[in-house]
């Protein structure tokens, strides 16, 4: 069942008087629902006394915000320089090959989304990746696959 307007409103309202509240509110909605449905714009605009265009402007500016649902597990591979230096490009190709997915894509099953991240601060033990909540340093395709299995197991167990 799609989330009701009332649910979105009740998530956003507590952030009205917080510094930078709109951004924190949008994150909260996304964490609760998994993405930012179109209805969010009008509700947030109403609460924060902004135009819908202003809310949309904020959503489109930040990489963390997304309109469409993502896969159950998101795999983020670091594409920045320190990871490039330590085999990050090769890792990316191997993961793409193993999962039959390109960077930025979500598997048709809805299980996995593969995406780029620019630096996780693990540059001294590159290449770095994040599989769901799990951080990986000196990552290789096997460790990414293992972490994905664990994440799948956890998701299946609920």
């Amino acid at each position: 069942m799609p989330p009701g307007d009332q649910e979105i409103r009740s998530i956003i309202e507590p952030y009205l008087n917080k510094t930078g509240g709109l951004i924190t509110a949008l994150r909260a909605v996304q964490e609760a629902i998994g993405h930012l449905p179109e209805e969010t714009d009008a509700i947030a605009a109403d609460i924060f006394n902004l135009s819908r265009a202003e809310v949309m402007g904020v959503i489109s500016f930040y990489a963390d915000f997304h309109r469409a649902p993502k896969g159950r597990t998101v795999i983020r591979l670091c594409a920045a320089e320190a990871c490039q230096a330590a085999g990050g490009r090769g890792l990316q190709e191997q993961v793409e090959g193993r999962l039959a997915l390109k960077m930025g894509e979500t598997a048709p099953s809805g299980n996995i989304t593969l995406e780029t991240v620019y630096c996780l601060g693990l540059c001294s033990a590159a290449p770095a990746a994040m599989v769901g909540e799990r951080l990986l340093a000196r990552a290789d395709v096997e460790r990414v696959a293992d972490a994905l299995n664990d994440a799948d197991g956890n998701a299946a167990r609920g």
Binding site: G20, G21, Y62, D64, Y118, L120, L122, C123, S124, A126
Partner: protein, 519 residues
């Protein structure tokens, strides 16, 4: 009944990303099996990341290291410790490991040693001394001390901190703010992350001193969302700092007030630029503001705001506690104090090395870093993040300080050093610099927004040998346009990695590039 065995294991992101949490559970399980009484303290990291997870076992007040520990090692390791015999992963006394021993740690002095969220341990290990001293001084005296120390901003630009403090202090307003810039987006840097995970009260103390000095009662930490561990630790540390009276309405019984709030960003490199950061903190798109007005005069919500990098703020408590003169004694010329250099990329001994300014680049890359992890020759380093220069080994004699780097078309930036071996293709790296700029531009200026996209195309043509000479000329013009027509350093400095690559590694841009004689 013997005393419990004191074990220390990092909770730092790097250690966790290399399995520290699994090692912690294995330690509990294996200790229980052996009916061994152990206490495990989770600490920050010592910064020797090739040894993570680095387990420390205390004996007669000395901490002995074992690493890198794999869960498979844990049982035998505990047996060895109990029987007092040597285990193959033993490293000896941790503080005597050469990488650690030769540092000058005044910022990271507690990192890796104490429980990061224990105010008791913070205070009993020398924390709070700078704040206590500051609370007995006038605001103007504190600003004078910071100015006299010569400390410069560690966020990239290297501007003298004391001048900024004075501006904020002397600007009259009903409300002023301190903002800690914890957006740390530069590849190859993680000093902010490490100190926030390993000694967060130091940042809190630095911000509080700044607040008392300039007359600001409210501080924000703007943290990037890519740092979930730091977010958790900071939130906990802020709570505990309130409970312990380190911040709040009556700081250490002085009657002074200072509040701190954590704000987590939403994934935008440009939000590390201070005016973009302030827009974001106001809940808006992170578009860069034109300067002037400077944030020190009109910053957050139009109020005077002192924006500093995390490491700059973390340098302050020591300056107050030990005095500006002792800080100035460290370093060279106008590069005073210490810098936590971050050694990253394709390197054997990756990690954090805090030292006074003045070491040559070669020492950091070859001696301390141990050269490339692959064992092949180092061909290039990029220093100071994605907007920093690529330098060849022929320049590794250069001293890592602000003036020397500037004179050689480079910059210290936030202290990141990314090492590449001979496999690196500098055309590919230059192309990436444009690609990153295109991806992360805030979109306000055309030379940055459009020029970066054009830059990628030009690089592709040069790579594919299409009108090479013509495209090299276009590249030059494009770089000039970006330098002249960009509002901030994102567009204005993207030409630095590009042009340094071209200057020092012209063979990667030449016809038949990368083809060896054998082919």
């Amino acid at each position: 009944m013997g005393d419990a065995l004191n074990l220390f294991l990092p909770l730092d992101s790097v250690a966790v990303a290399l399995g520290a949490d699994d090692v912690a559970s294995a330690l509990r399980d294996e200790a229980a099996k052996r009916k061994l009484d152990v206490t495990i303290t989770r600490t920050g990291s010592r910064g020797m990341h090739w040894l993570e997870p680095l387990l420390e076992v205390e004996s007669d007040g000395v901490r002995f290291g074992y690493g890198p520990v794999d869960i498979g090692d844990v049982g035998a390791l505990l047996d060895a410790v109990a029987a007092n015999v040597r285990h193959p992963k033993a490293l000896g006394s941790v503080q005597d490991i050469p990488f650690f021993k030769h540092q000058t740690r005044i910022i990271f002095e507690r990192c890796g040693i104490i429980d990061p969220v224990s105010t008791d341990q913070y205070l009993s290990h020398g924390g709070g001394a700078g704040l206590d001293k500051a609370l007995r001084m006038s605001g103007a005296e504190i600003c004078e001390e910071v100015l006299a120390s010569g400390v410069r901003g560690r966020g990239g630009a290297g501007f003298p901190a004391g001048i900024k403090w004075k501006t904020v202090a002397e600007t009259r307003a009903d409300q002023k703010y301190i903002v800690a810039n914890a957006d740390e987006g530069d590849s190859g840097t993680f000093a902010d992350r490490m100190i926030m995970e390993g000694d967060p009260f130091l940042l809190i103390e630095g911000m509080t001193i700044a607040g008392v000095a300039v007359g600001a009662t409210k501080g924000y930490i703007y943290l990037r969302s890519e740092y979930p561990v730091a977010a958790r630790i900071l939130a906990q540390a802020i709570d505990r700092a309130y409970s312990a009276g380190l911040i709040g309405e009556n700081i250490r019984g002085s009657g002074e007030r200072f509040d701190i709030e954590l704000f987590v960003g939403a994934g935008a490199y440009i939000c590390g630029e201070e005016t973009s950061l302030l827009e974001s903190l106001e809940g808006k798109r992170g578009e860069v503001r034109a300067k002037p007005p400077l944030p020190a005069v009109e910053g957050l919500f139009g109020k005077p705001t002192l924006v500093h990098n995390v490491i700059t703020l973390c340098s302050i408590p020591h300056i107050l506690a030990e005095g500006a003169a002792s800080y100035r004694d460290l370093g060279v010329g106008k590069s005073t104090g210490t810098m936590p250099f971050q050694i990253a990329g394709n390197v054997k001994h990756g990690g954090l090395y805090e030292t006074a300014f003045g070491l040559p680049l070669r020492a950091l890359v070859e001696e301390i870093g141990g050269g490339a992890r692959t064992g092949r020759p180092v061909r290039a380093v990029q220093i100071g993040g994605p907007l920093g220069a690529y330098l060849p080994p022929s320049l590794f004699h250069l001293q890592m300080d602000y003036e020397t780097m500037l004179a050689n078309g480079a910059g210290v930036g936030h202290g990141g050093i990314v090492v590449f071996d001979e496999d690196v293709d500098l055309l590919e790296q230059a192309r990436y610099a444009f690609e990153f700029c295109a991806e992360e531009s805030c979109g306000k200026c055309t030379p940055c927004r459009v020029g970066s996209v054009r830059g990628v195309e030009v690089m592709d043509r040069i790579r594919d040998d299409i009108d090479r000479e013509q495209n090299l000329t276009v590249l030059d013009d494009l770089c000039e346009l970006m330098v002249d027509g960009s509002l901030c350093a994102m567009g204005g400095m993207t030409p630095i990695p590009v042009k340094s690559a071209l200057k020092h590694f012209p063979e990667d841009f030449a016809i038949n590039r990368g083809k060896s004689d054998a082919e």
